[in-house]
Symmetry: C2
Subunit: 103 residues, 2 copies
Amino acid sequence: MSQAQQPVFKALADPTRREILKRLQQGSETAGEIATAFTISKPSLSHHFNILKAADLVRTERRGQHIVYSLNATVLQEAMAMLLDVFSPGDSSRQQDNDGSKT
Amino acid sequence: MSQAQQPVFKALADPTRREILKRLQQGSETAGEIATAFTISKPSLSHHFNILKAADLVRTERRGQHIVYSLNATVLQEAMAMLLDVFSPGDSSRQQDNDGSKT
DNA sequence: CATTCTTTTAGAAATTTGTCTAAATATACA
DNA sequence: TGTATATTTAGACAAATTTCTAAAAGAATG
């Protein structure tokens, strides 16, 4: 089910990319539509798109001259869940209390 | 309740730091204990601790010569939730379907 | 106080990242 | 085909990041 999470967290590290994802949560948009919401150049934005695509956080579909970007929410959720150890609870050979040292 | 999320996501972007957090989910540890689990130098690790502290993802407590690191799970959860829009659902002036463009 | 152990700070070097402009590619349409 | 629109690729450059070694700082103990 899941892929490498490193590209996902790298992708989430940039505020521009997080804002792109946030916009796409409201619905798909073309590259140009997204571009109007930012002050950086289109090539810079395109670079961010590439990073999001590499992390599989967004999917693309060509529609005439436009390219429509949509969110892949599953990857986002998997990364979060994995980080919070919802899936792999660990070996539990160390204590769980979290209120002090092991000594 | 919440602070700036940029330092949190920057902190999560590095695999070493994510592994530190994962360890701390199992229970608090001293800097030295954590260091045994990694191959990088202690100063490098200390640098990562600083970034995690700046993001408020970990808390520290001195215990004699040792410094004990513990996870601040709340910050982690808030960042995740915020990203998934659990808290701030957006303006809903754009469509929610996520299956195509707005055109 | 001197020594030892633990951890951090300082400063430097190599790599990565985010941004730009200029140019290329892809599609639509007269 | 030629032109306009939409988007990406190429290449360069400044800033940020990760790592290291050397040295300093904090605490326990003889």
